[in-house]
Amino acid sequence: MNNGLAGITLRVNLTTGEIRRLPTDEELFRRCYGGRGVIAEILYDEVPRDADPLGPENVFIMNAGIMSGCFIPAGAKIEFGSISPLTNGHGDSNMGGHLGPELKYAGYDMVIFTGMSAKPVFLYIDNDTVELRDASRYWGMGALDCEVQLKKDLSEDFQIATIGPAAENGILFSCISHDYGRQAGRTGQGTVMASKKLKAIAVRGNRSLRVHDLDALTKQVSDVIFRTQNHPNMEPWQKYGTAFFLRWSNDNGVMPTRNFQTTHYEHIDKIDGDQLIEKCLITHKACFGCWMNCGKYTKAVIPGKPEVHLEGPEYETGALCGANIGMMDINHVAYINWMLDNAGMDTMSGGGVIAFAMECFEKGFITEKDLEGHTLEWGSIDDVEHFVDMVTHRRGIGDWFAGGTKRAAQKIGKGSEKFAMQVKGQEMSGYDGRWAPGMMLSYMTADIGAHHNRSWTITVDMAEGREKIEGRAKIVVYLQHVRPLFDSLCVCRLFWGELDITPEDIIASLNHITGWNVSVADALRTSERTWNLTRCHYLERNKAAGRTFDYPPARSWEDKILSGPGKGKGVTKEQVEQMLDDYYAARGWDKKGNPTREILEDLGIGFAAENLKKIGLLGEPIPGGIPPVRGERYKPKAF
């Protein structure tokens, strides 16, 4: 194949142990561009709407897409997807590292897991050799520890994905871990993997990938390499990685602090990027083929605790396991990062859950008696360590938090759902949206819950007005088409955001690889198609009008920001409602947030309109019709 694809798709039936090798469906990749897009369509087609996300009917997919491994900027992503146990909708999450390219060098574009194994197994891929092997001896191991052991047992040159005990114990926000610190963290993909008794995936390959025009691709990419080597943003990225933004976010009043009570952390200088580099850095660490090396491999040294090595904390972990839980020492933040990594929990939802529990403790909703005699004070590493252990093993009230903040608030009651900082069951990323309304809208409307990677608007809000909502919805719609496009192509978006690689550059690479000759507009339309498909899928599974699911917790409009540059600011409920109206109009959906037949047919997914109609959730026709183009092109400033 001369289109970047490796050529083979594996279907692994974990119930029967049967492994089938099928030619990769090129039409499917052409239609959806791979990664998240292909996953969305397979899940829509194959998972029964009433299937338990943790049951045998859920389908778990690993997809390396078209561009991964093909010598393009930051082309090293691999996408995982299944129905999310956290949101009960389409779920996907990706990670960098080396696994995506290695899978393709082994000859495979995608692995589709169905069913459920009776005993723990791992998938072993060494070029043509594909086997399910016994993983009994690895079950129970930490995610990082398991990678060490598998490399010892197989060979150092395997690329490995693992899960940890949190996933095995059914913690709904568990991640998939790779390369000692790269995680596909969101939407509980690790939990789904564990439900299928799939402990790990180990891959090694030495095949060549063939592309449409290697000379043109090599020339274009070489130009990009030499151009970006001298970009002014390269130096801070290489030095700090995303931790650079901790201070920036704090200075701009969006830092989630003590469970999103305020947006400015007074101790930021104890946990920021400078502290990380000065106190913790071991080495800079890159994903495959990326010359920006934003990964920081570090150590956490705390008297009385073992020295641990980890990757991070990156921005999100620094914010959510730092400021958001009141930590005052970078070593403590790093240690928590390591704890969650090895337990196999998403550090973003994990930080959100710890913060929520801390506020519950502060308010007296949970007590020392509930916590086996321990306290849960802001900034206490020992308290956090004990609490995480309770959650990982679902001991006592640890069990209440196993399903994330939304489900924990249902157990705790007392109005705690007001400050369970999640949307659709998934915890918010490390930005408070009260003084960044576009960010708030992004959280509200993201198909996988409150995740920043569907649309990130902090610099948009700063440029366009932080207390103004007019025009914001159209930009959010555009960004929701651009950012997830990278997840379909399986390339990192950071080059676009930070090093001025344009969507045109990326699509030019795509054309050199595939020969498709598509335009940016075509690509955005493909991304929009996927966005609408996952929305329909969500509605078909959750069976209520879309708007029902698109609200943030009431803290978002009831509580104003307590301190810092954003003191006293906040969105109102009316603004929240208005933003939803604007957003649905910009998308061609009705006021209830349901997609209309017109938009679905326009995007070539009329079959979804039929399915929505059957359950009474097809949007009412829009007077005057849908907008001819959805979203308004916008280039957010880097920072």
Binding site: F288, G289, W291
Partner: protein, 133 residues
């Protein structure tokens, strides 16, 4: 002409290995590269690029006299003469003579320096030792 290694600078991105294979085989396949990167994780947590040091052991042991040094100091494999026996692979003290199932000859660095051009952290640097040509 040699390659100087600043081992602590390596980030393990393997861009060097990608461009090496593209340059020499016109293929995207880092497993055909003429250099390797050791990764030691989680402890101590370091990468180390390993490149040919031009020690000449490969040429010494070659039963076919298929390896000879050129005027910039690189050991060049005569692809016609090489029988892919692997003697040089075993003899290389740094483990930088490679074989690949697609190829019927061994792979040794020819010091084209393409890898040093793309390395963004100066982990591998073109080194004109003692003014060699």
């Amino acid at each position: 002409m040699r390659i100087k290694v600043n081992r602590d600078n390596c980030t393990g991105c393997h861009l060097c290995r990608q461009v090496c294979a593209i340059r020499h085989y016109n293929e995207i396949n880092p497993k055909k590269a003429a250099l390797r990167i050791e990764a030691k994780f989680p402890d101590p947590g370091k990468y180390r690029p390993v490149v040919c040091s031009q020690c000449g052991k490969c040429a010494e042991v070659c039963p076919e006299n298929a390896i000879s040094q050129n005027d910039i100091g690189a050991y060049i494999v005569d692809k016609e003469k090489c029988i892919n026996c692997g003697e040089c692979v075993a003899a290389c003290p740094l483990g930088v003579v490679f074989q690949h199932p697609d190829l019927d000859h061994v792979i040794i660095c020819d010091f084209c320096m393409e890898c040093t051009r793309v390395c963004n952290t100066d982990a591998i640097v073109k080194w004109d030792k003692g003014g060699a040509k």
